[in-house]
Amino acid sequence: MSLSKVPLEKNQSPGETMQVVVFFLAGAEYAVEIKQVEEINRLLNITRVPHAPSYIEGVINLRGNIIPVINLHKKFNLSGQEFDPQTRIIVLKINDLNAAIIVDRVSEVIYLEVDHIVADTQFFSPINAEVIEGMVKREDRLIIVLDLLKLLNKEIN
């Protein structure tokens, strides 16, 4: 897997870059800034929390800390998800907030040029536009960059 294939389509001089973790959800590619990621883990033993919203899969114990796990399939009404050996949880730490998301597969860690992220959310997106920071076209791939701080903040309110 190539790490930093900086596309030089528009700018000859490389601009500000950001490192992201790319993952799959229901066939589409998403990215989250690596600064927001604490770690990537195999699916741990999840304890269900009764009366929690349905997309909260439960809580896990991560080295003595209790962390809620959000099922993005359910959160964004994506097609059903089956946990398989490729399923991962991405543990996020944004400001003081700790939470984890379940993803189908983590594919790679790459550098994106910030200039290349198009903040246009008019394009078709299977998920709620509010938590999308923008999208990036790379060759024939389309990567949707998420702003998960917004997602978590919405959970608190």
Partner: protein, 675 residues
């Protein structure tokens, strides 16, 4: 001079709050006993210290107000003025203002500055009473340097080691000016460490301090009497540096001379305890006999760090459990022995961490005497207020939460419990209402009591009110005993305007008090006898971080139920269950107990397993008892509560989580919100 005051701000805030507490409590004593003026010395000293600290820190308004307070206090102290209730009122008002200003400073705001009203009041009362005011202002100028100009030849306790001597000789050989300086600080100077800091700063503009006596660390902590010595190396002329020192207020250069190379011999440390230095120290102590309170060494620690420590200890315990399993699995005796040691250490560690989180309830209690006094005065009542067991320790988290409920109970007692003096006399009671606040340990709990000898709660009025508000039917109300009726004051919606005059407070009901205490896993009960007063008894767990819990399972899930909610556990037969209108019941020792299936409460599907033996955990929510049907009882366990975090905060029925021995997460049920 630019000086980084932030370093000292915390110290300043902490110390000034301490002085405000002293002022408040001593002034209350004085008010009770105006003839007993010995307390005035301490009041005066606290005010004086506050003034000194404030001006050092540059809080002029604070210093100014305390300065005027001091003037009044000086006259009271010297008997030039009588201690009147007017004077005390004004002083209390000043203390309140100081508190506001200090809170402002703590909050990063510019402190309240306009104190002209209070200063005017202070001056008026002074000029009204004291014609002999001449000379008293001198007192305000007490912050003058009174250190005797000690002769330069005074033997000094500078002790050199080999290293120092090498440096000094090197400096001398290079032609640097090596000076011995003896610097005096006014003995009554506040925050000596700041003075030292300023001296060092002044010197280090053009040279270097290479050695001090006492040590730099002791100086930094203000641990010296009225002077200190240092060796200073600079290039060329000293005069500028010395002039800078003499510009610092409350600091004076007592003497200086060039260091004579012949002085430079290694001195044996024994000399430190020699007659010269110790005699000097003793002298100082004699002058200020009451200043030598034993210094307690404390560190202020962020509560989050303690939580983290607690988490780590919890994890250690968990991993110890895994080691134990390995030891058993492979039958390794040596490992088991080692684990036993670790076991002891971890449980000690756990209890130490718990103790670190404990603080005396004094912190909460201390604000009450003032409140009681003010409220009594406002209501024209006379109150003798007693506090017992201030040293009782409670977990920090409980301390933070318990203040408001107690405040409310005390207000109630004064406002509605205690009668007016005339009324009391006609009832053959002591003129002063007796109000008690007590705290004590009992086993794993702390009991706090608020007792008054006032009018008590009138059950008939409560009964009336309960019927009016529809809380009880007429027949029901009449069947209940007086004791049961009195408990109704804790029901929500009970305290409305009409009852307020009799039992409840100002808009905040007793139900709030009760729910707050229950939120702390505590209980509150009331005993009251009309005409004789009321006793409110609060029972609190020592800590909220570790609790006893009953572990149960339902299907594949394990839950913890806090033992404070559990009355008993029992096993019943399926045939004993009766169904009335879809609700399951059993009869337990003659009384009807509604049953709730835990699997339904935690949204688990029904199973069609049929066993005849059914486990029931009898829990209570307020006065209501319910039997929770569970699959199995694991037993009682001490658990460390963890929060589910912001995202899952406030989910009904769940109070938090614990990490089980195997590392999985189990949820703690919150009985109060479960059903």
């Amino acid at each position: 001079m630019e000086l980084d005051m932030n370093k000292y701000l915390d110290v300043f805030l902490e110390e000034s709050r301490e002085h405000i507490r002293t002022l408040n409590s001593r002034l209350l004593q004085l008010e009770k006993n105006p003839q007993e003026t010995s307390g005035l010395n301490e009041i005066f000293r606290s005010a004086h210290t506050l003034k000194g600290m404030s001006s050092t820190m540059g809080f002029i308004a604070l210093a100014d107000l305390t300065h005027h307070m001091e003037n009044l206090l000086a006259e009271l102290k010297e008997g030039k003025m009588q201690v009147t209730s007017r004077a005390i009122d004004i002083l209390f008002a000043c203390i309140d203002r100081l508190q506001i200003m200090i809170d402002d400073i703590a909050g990063g705001k510019k402190p309240h500055e306009d104190n002209a009203d209070l200063i005017h009041a202070l001056e008026t009362i002074r000029s009204a009473q004291a014609e002999t005011a001449a000379g008293t202002t001198q007192h305000a100028e007490a912050v003058v340097l009174t250190v005797d100009d000690a002769p330069d030849t005074r033997a000094h306790g500078m002790i050199y080691n080999d290293y120092d001597i090498t440096i000094l000789k090197e400096a001398l050989s290079r032609g640097f000016n090596v000076q011995y300086l003896n610097i005096g600080v006014a003995p009554n100077s506040m925050m000596k460490a700041v003075r030292v800091f300023m001296v060092f700063k002044a010197l280090e503009e053009s040279g270097e301090v290479i050695k001090t006596n006492p040590s730099a660390q002791e100086l930094d902590e203000g641990k010296f009497d009225d002077q200190f010595e240092l060796i200073y190396i600079c290039e060329g002329d000293l005069t500028k540096a010395l002039a800078r020192i003499n510009q610092i207020s409350e600091v004076k250069l007592l003497g200086n001379h060039a260091v004579d190379p012949s002085e430079l011999t290694v001195t044996e440390p024994v000399i430190k305890a020699g007659p010269q230095s110790s005699a000097g120290a003793a002298e100082v102590k004699k002058n200020e006999p009451d200043m030598v309170a034993p210094v307690r060494h404390t560190v202020r620690v962020d509560i989050e760090k303690l939580d983290l420590l607690m988490n780590l200890v919890g994890e250690l315990v968990m991993h110890k459990g895994r080691l134990e399993q390995i030891g058993v699995l492979y039958k390794m005796e040596e490992l088991n022995n080692a684990i036993e040691q670790i076991d002891r250490i971890t449980s000690d560690l756990q209890s130490v961490v718990m103790k670190v989180r404990m603080v005396p309830i004094e912190q909460v209690f201390n604000r009450f005497p003032r409140m009681v006094r003010d409220l009594a005065k406002e209501l024209d009542k006379e109150v003798d207020f007693y506090m017992e067991g201030k040293e009782t320790e409670l977990d920090r988290t409980v301390i933070d939460e318990i203040g408001d409920p107690l405040l409310h109970l005390l207000r109630n007692a004064i406002d509605h419990g205690l009668e007016l003096p005339q009324q009391r006399l006609s009832l053959q009671k002591k003129r002063q209402g007796q109000l008690y606040l007590r705290a004590r340990h009992e086993g794993n709990h702390v009991f706090i009591e608020v007792e008054d000898d006032g009018a008590g709660i009138n059950p008939d009025k409560v009964r009336e009110r309960a019927i009016e508000s529809g809380l009880l039917g007429i027949r029901e109300a009449e069947q209940l005993s007086d004791e049961e009726i009195i408990k109704l004051v804790f029901e929500s919606g009970f305290s409305t305007a009409e009852v307020v005059t009799d039992i409840s407070g100002r808009g905040v009901g007793m139900d709030v008090v009760k729910s707050k205490i229950e939120a702390l896993s505590g209980e509150i009960i009331v005993n009251s006898k009309p005409g004789y007063g009321s006793l409110f008894k609060i029972k609190l767990p020592l800590t909220l971080a570790i609790i006893q819990a009953m572990m149960v399972t339902v299907q594949s899930e394990t839950y913890a139920i806090p033992l404070t909610s559990v009355d008993e556990t029992t096993m019943i037969s399926a045939r004993d269950i009766k169904v009335i209108q879809g609700q399951e019941f059993i009869t337990l020792r003659g009384s009807i107990l509604p049953l709730l299936r835990l699997n339904r409460l935690v949204e688990l599907p029904e199973t069609d397993q049929t066993t005849d033996e059914i486990y029931v955990v009898v829990v209570h929510k307020g006065s209501k008892q319910v039997g929770l049907v569970v699959d199995t009882l694991i037993g009682q366990q001490e658990i460390v509560i963890k929060s589910l975090g912001k995202i899952l905060d406030g989910i009904p029925g769940i109070a938090g989580a614990i990490i089980a021995r195997d590392g999985s997460v189990c949820l703690i049920l919150d009985v109060a919100t479960l059903f």
